[in-house]
């Protein structure tokens, strides 16, 4: 397979990506979330789709997302997750955090390269 070229999802970033997905697309079921991440990442990330569910539970426990049973496009029963107001705030906070950190990491890495 092409696994060797793919990167592991960084610890903790999956939560952020799911929050962002729910924020951007509105209520989604687990499968939809996995598809969206796959699509956006252009097959760069290797995602064990099962871990999406672990992440969803974590977010539920923090009250950042809510879950509800509903019916999917093809008339299947599915659990839909949506971002809560608290989740919105958390997303803003985390996004800012992420940008700051990735900026710093990026700068550090560029420094390394110049030597």
């Amino acid at each position: 397979m092409t696994d060797a070229k793919k990167s592991e999802v960084l610890q903790g970033t999956l939560d952020l990506m799911i929050l962002k997905t729910l924020h951007a697309l509105g209520p989604q079921h687990g499968f939809g979330i996995a598809r969206r991440i796959e699509q956006v990442s252009h097959d760069v990330l290797q995602l064990n789709e099962g871990t999406v569910y672990t992440s969803l539970l974590r977010l539920l426990q923090q009250g950042w997302i809510a879950a509800q049973w509903g019916t999917s496009d093809n008339n299947r029963k599915a659990k839909f997750y949506s971002i809560t107001a608290r989740g919105q705030k958390q997303l803003a906070l985390e996004t800012e955090n992420w940008e700051r950190i990735s900026g710093v990491v990026g700068r550090v890495l560029r420094l390394e390269g110049e030597r």
């Binding site: 789709e49 871990t51 426990q61 029963k77 599915a78």
Partner: protein
């Protein structure tokens, strides 16, 4: 919102809830996962895969579903709780399988925990929370202390002026009550009886927050001028004097000449001032007189406002009293401060160190128990090595193994705790019976209550940690391979754990010796106290104080007019051997005097104790004469100036001279009621020394003079009887009333009981408890030594078998095992002796002066006792070892 603590808390709550919903959630998840997999597989199938390939690819992309389940479970619920429940079930099953071990462990722990619980209940109910009153913890009383004398003593009785100033000016109390004591003469048809009364200020019962058991307490109206006189009675007095007769309620009683209605009887635990009766009084400014013509003084008890410290309250009261001292400096020390003391400080005295000593002893007992159980667990852990290794090999982490063992310990400790509560509940009754009653607050009721049970629980958990941790760590530290290979019966027999068990036994023996030495010292001390010669015979003597009404008994002649006919009446009673009058009761004399002796010049002041007695005094108390003679009846009747001195007097002031015929001047007698002018007395006799400053203080010089020389003082009646002295009480009371119906019997008792109550009860209590705990400790240690040796020899069966096969004699094997055991015991004894010497000093305060903390007899005796018991404990396993059949032992492999 980003606070990690909050998010952790949220997660915790969600997980805790998850404990109850796990089933539903698991099936929910399954559904979601199945749907996801099907959707994925559908996508792969659209891309042209076969059904099977698509399903496989979907599973691959989804990842490990089992791991996912695990992850989710760990996230969703508190894993530790689920695991704990599993550990608990396992521990119960394990312990249930080895019943003997469980029984011994729980019994051992129960003993230790039970003893601690019982003693802690006493401490809690006597020292910590003795009072049933509302907010008793904030109740304090101010005491004026002379700065020069430090914390010692001080004045806590206030004139009504001072009392009112303190009440009105203070900023620190949110409630105050005043109490003024009064000896109440209760007059009924036959005569008078004395009650101990207290006058209480308005609001007293609201202050204590206690309603009456029957009837009612005082209301504000009862304090109004002109209100009908009323009073309230203590429960104990009601039971003892009126047999709990409800008919006395609302009856009128003549108390100190005033007819008062009994309006209420207090609940049993109300014991304020230990007063029999409580009388309403509103303090007013200006001098008022209390009993015996002395100015009335008020004791002030205040409840601190919440948040006010004792120091703040003391400072506040100091300011107030300083103002008063500017007006009347003569009433106060030159430099003073007001300190506030806790309510409990009024009562609890000498019992406190004793109780803490006993608590420490119980702690030691508990330690021995822990040692035993730890050893049993270590031994068990050794035989469970394989089980643990297997668990470790299968992936159990160190923490997991430790937890498993700790849960086992916890189960044992809780079992021990439960048994301990039962033991304490039973033992408490006997402890209460042995408690010296006058050393504990009247209000305290000793029982197992919530704080005590919490204490038990905490102790149980702590013990579990103490005895469980070492075996648990030991078990978890194991090398995975070794035990699996080992047959479990090897010769080395867990060398390292062996040493640990040995250390525990050595410590146990040391602790036990410390306990025994403590018990031994207290026993020696108690025996020494009992043997201490009072110089008189206190048995078969009835005593009572006879407070004579001041108005009718002022002169010596008036007092003689009462006592002379009374003494003849009493002497004529059946069963009476002799009777006398005196100033004080042995072993104390209170009155003293400066002295001069004819023909003796001296610079320093000479002092003596002084008593006024009638002629029967020395016969009633069986005090022997060393020289001269006793007073004659004529001398008493004629108030002759004669004196008897004790040997201490003779050797202090007339050493090497003949005291008989010498004259001694007692200036004190010039100052009392109906005084003696020019009080020179001729010494006619010398008696043996009689303790006159309590049992333990050196005997002071003392002089006895005829009771008839002054009108004051001698108001104690002592009667020597043929039978039980208390049987005389009613006859004596009738004799007193036949002489004067206005005189009560005050504090009547058998002299011997009085002496032992006040002097022996404390030491006896300490010694009794220490002896019990010492014996229990010895038993536990014996079990401990036995079990360690039994276990060690059982593991060495094979080695012993080889030795016997190679020609070792029966006696050799015996010696081998006993020597191993005794090595531990002697090591423990050495450590114990080393530790006891400094510890002994801690109980030195409880010891009578003749007994030193390093009393050689006690040390030798207890050491011997421990060695003998230790040898016995070794004997049984040794005998068993010697009987090992070499063939059986070797074949066993």
């Amino acid at each position: 919102m980003g606070d990690p603590r909050i998010s952790r808390l949220r997660a915790f709550v969600a997980r805790a809830l998850g404990l109850f919903r796990s089933r539903k959630r698991d099936s929910d998840l399954d559904e979601e996962v199945q749907a996801h997999l099907q959707l994925l597989a559908g996508r792969f199938a659209e891309q042209g895969m076969s059904r099977e390939d698509a399903a496989a690819a979907a599973r691959r992309q989804f990842g490990n579903t089992t791991l996912l389940q695990e992850d989710r479970r760990e996230l969703r619920t508190l894993v530790s709780v689920e695991d704990f429940a599993r550990d608990l079930r396992y521990a119960l099953r394990c312990l249930g399988r080895s019943r003997a071990f469980t029984a011994v462990a729980i019994a051992t722990l129960g003993l230790g925990i039970g003893a601690s619980t019982a003693i802690f209940s006493v401490i809690d109910n006597v020292l910590l929370e003795p009072f049933p009153y509302k907010d008793a913890g904030r109740m304090v009383f101010p005491r004026i202390q002379d700065t020069a004398r430090g914390e010692e003593g001080g004045r806590q009785g206030y004139t009504s002026n001072e009392f009112l100033e303190l009440v009105e000016q203070n900023h620190v109390f949110d409630g105050v009550t005043g109490a003024s004591e009064d000896l109440v003469l209760y007059k009924h048809g036959e005569g008078v009886e004395q009650l101990y009364g207290v006058h209480v200020t308005p609001g007293t019962f609201e202050f204590f927050g206690m309603p009456a058991r029957y009837g009612r307490v005082m209301q504000p109206a009862d304090y109004q001028p002109g209100a009908p006189p009323v009073f309230v009675m203590r429960h104990k007095t009601w039971m003892e004097r009126f047999n709990g007769d409800p008919g006395v309620l609302n009856k009128s009683f003549v108390l100190n000449g005033t007819a008062r209605t009994l309006i209420g009887i207090m609940p049993p635990r109300f014991g304020w001032f230990e007063a029999d009766v409580l009388i309403p009084e509103t303090p007013v400014r200006g001098a008022s007189t209390g009993f015996a013509g002395l100015p009335a003084t008020w004791f002030l008890l205040g409840r601190l406002k919440p948040g006010v410290s004792k120091a703040q309250a003391g400072a506040d009261a100091t300011v107030i009293v300083n103002h008063l001292a500017k007006i009347n400096p003569q009433d106060y020390p030159a430099h003073f401060q007001v300190a506030v003391k806790k309510l409990g400080d009024t009562v609890v005295g000498r019992l406190e160190p004793t109780l803490y000593t006993v608590l420490a002893a119980v702690g030691l007992l508990l330690m021995i128990g822990c040692g035993n159980v730890a050893n049993l667990m270590l031994a068990r852990a050794t035989s469970r090595e394989k089980e643990f290794s297997l668990r470790a090999v299968l992936g159990a982490g160190r923490a997991r193994l430790i937890r498993l063992l700790l849960v086992e310990s916890m189960v044992l400790a809780i079992g021990g705790g439960a048994l301990g509560v039962l033991i304490a509940w039973g033992g408490l009754k006997s402890i209460v019976a042995a408690l010296p009653q006058d050393m504990i607050p009247a209000e305290s009721v000793i029982e197992l209550n919530a704080p005590v049970l919490v204490f038990t629980l905490v102790v149980s958990i702590l013990t579990a940690l103490i005895f469980g941790l070492a075996p648990a760590l030991q078990a978890a530290r194991r090398d995975l391979n070794d035990p699996l290979r080992d047959s479990g019966k090897g010769m080395m027999g867990g060398f390292r754990t062996g040493r640990m068990r040995d250390t525990v036994v050595v410590m146990e023996v040391a602790v036990s010796l410390t306990l025994l030495i403590g018990a031994g010292l207290l026993m020696r001390s108690f025996v020494a106290l009992r043997e201490l010669h009072l110089g008189l015979q206190a048995d078969h003597v009835f005593q009572t104080r006879l407070p004579l009404p001041e108005d009718r008994y002022k002169t010596a002649a008036q007092v003689r007019g009462f006592f002379q006919p009374l003494l003849s009446r009493v002497k004529a009673l059946p069963g009476v051997v002799d009777a006398t009058q005196s100033t004080a009761l042995p072993p104390y004399s209170f009155q003293g005097s400066k002295i001069e002796i004819s023909g003796k010049a001296h610079q320093d002041e000479w002092h003596t104790l002084l008593q006024q007695v009638s002629e029967g005094y020395f016969r009633v108390l069986r005090i022997p004469f060393k020289a001269g003679r006793a007073f004659s009846e004529t001398e008493i009747n004629d108030s002759r100036r004669v004196a008897v001195v004790n040997e201490a007097f003779a050797s202090a002031y007339l050493l090497g001279e003949d005291p008989i015929g010498r004259r001694v001047k007692l200036p004190q007698l010039e100052t009392v009621a109906d005084p003696v002018r020019d009080p020179w007395f001729e010494i006619v006799g010398v008696v043996g020394n009689v303790t006159n400053q309590g049992l333990q203080a050196p005997i002071e010089p003392e002089v006895w003079v005829p009771s008839t020389v002054t009108g004051s003082g001698a108001q104690v009646l002592m009667v020597r009887s043929q039978q039980n002295p208390m049987a005389l009480m009613n006859d004596v009371r009738q004799a007193v009333w036949a002489t004067d119906t206005g005189v009560p019997l005050a504090f009547p008792s058998a002299l011997e009981d009085r002496i032992s109550q006040s002097l022996y009860a404390g030491p006896r209590f300490a010694f009794l408890l220490m002896a019990i705990f010492g014996c229990l400790g010895l038993i536990l240690v014996t079990v401990g030594v036995y079990s360690v040796l039994a276990y060690a020899t059982a593991r060495k069966t094979q080695e012993i078998g080889i030795r016997i096969a190679l020609g070792a004699e029966h006696a050799d094997v015996l010696r081998l095992v006993i020597r191993a055991g005794l090595r531990l015991v002697t090591a423990g004894v050495a450590v114990g002796l080393f530790v006891s010497l400094p510890l002994g000093r801690l109980i030195a305060a409880d010891l009578s002066p003749g007994v030193k903390a390093h009393d050689p007899l006690t040390l030798a005796g207890t050491t011997l006792l421990l060695l003998v018991t230790g040898t016995l404990a070794c004997w049984i396993p040794a005998r068993r070892a010697a009987r090992v059949d070499p063939m059986v032992a070797l074949r066993y492999e």
